[in-house]
């Protein structure tokens, strides 16, 4: 639970990422469905030490991927699978924690479309992104000014 004494902010957002992969939908799906295979690519990252990695890939099953970053920060990913159609679609919801702070609750839909001999993977993520960087004290200290300045610098570039 996030600290109730801190003001909250919520941002709803959706993003879509599509990627063409040189492997059949069955093989791409297997990279999500098989724990050992998924471990090889999903959570691995330089600077991340995995603390927990469990996948119970079935409808109602859960997944936990926790890791410690070089900064000492601990990230926790916890998912529940809602819909699984082999080689076609996976739907899961998940929340993310950074240390003790819950930073998002999302619904992720992954679709595998045949594309020649390969696959067009479509990932749609719909999320409530919680208490971002402009939280409590930071807002008082003018983080909004920071965001305004950023937006201006982005508009310029």
């Amino acid at each position: 639970m996030n600290d109730p004494s801190h003001p909250t902010s919520t941002r709803h957002d959706t993003f879509v990422i599509e990627r063409r992969l040189d492997a059949s939908p069955a093989r791409v799906y297997a990279a999500f469905a098989d724990q050992a295979a998924k471990r090889a690519w999903f959570a691995g990252s330089a600077g991340l030490t995995q603390l927990r990695n469990e996948l119970d890939f079935r409808v109602g099953g859960e997944e936990h991927v926790d890791g410690r970053w070089t900064s000492g920060m601990v990230s926790k990913f916890h998912a529940v699978y809602h819909d699984i159609v082999p080689a076609r679609r996976i739907v899961y919801s998940y929340d993310m924690h950074l240390d003790e702070r819950k930073i998002s609750v999302s619904l992720a839909t992954i679709e595998f479309h045949p594309d020649g001999v390969g696959t067009r993977l479509k990932l749609t993520e719909q999320g409530a992104f919680l208490d971002g960087y402009d939280d409590a004290g930071a807002r008082e200290r003018g983080t909004n000014g920071l965001m305004d300045a950023l937006e201006k610098s982005l508009a310029r570039s």
Binding site: D13, D22, A30, A37, G47, L98, L121, G145
Partner: protein, 128 residues
Amino acid sequence: MHATASQQLDATFAALADPTRRAILARLASGEQSVTALAEPFEMSLPAVTKHLGVLERAGLIERGRQAQWRPCRLQAAPLRQAAHWVEQYKAHWELRLDRLEEFLRASSAAPAKKPTRKTTNKRRTQP
């Protein structure tokens, strides 16, 4: 390249996780300032502020002038651009993941008969 992008996100995350450092960035948004001027509103020692500036500098969020006496601090927008919203972080992480998925599929197609076995299930994987 993946490691660099991922480490950059990690460094940005870590640097922004601290309210004092966010406040320092917010002040720099209005223009460059000296360390002394930056330290003024904070109830902490100059060395403590300097330490925060070091974290921000290593994360690439600020740049410091080279003059010995007056080392003005300037905001660097590029890493912040990516970290400005959680959603951008998520997208960036997904792009990196999908890069790794592509590599994984490419590597495993070289030995298509070899499916990962349950034997490795309980092994913890620590990335270099």
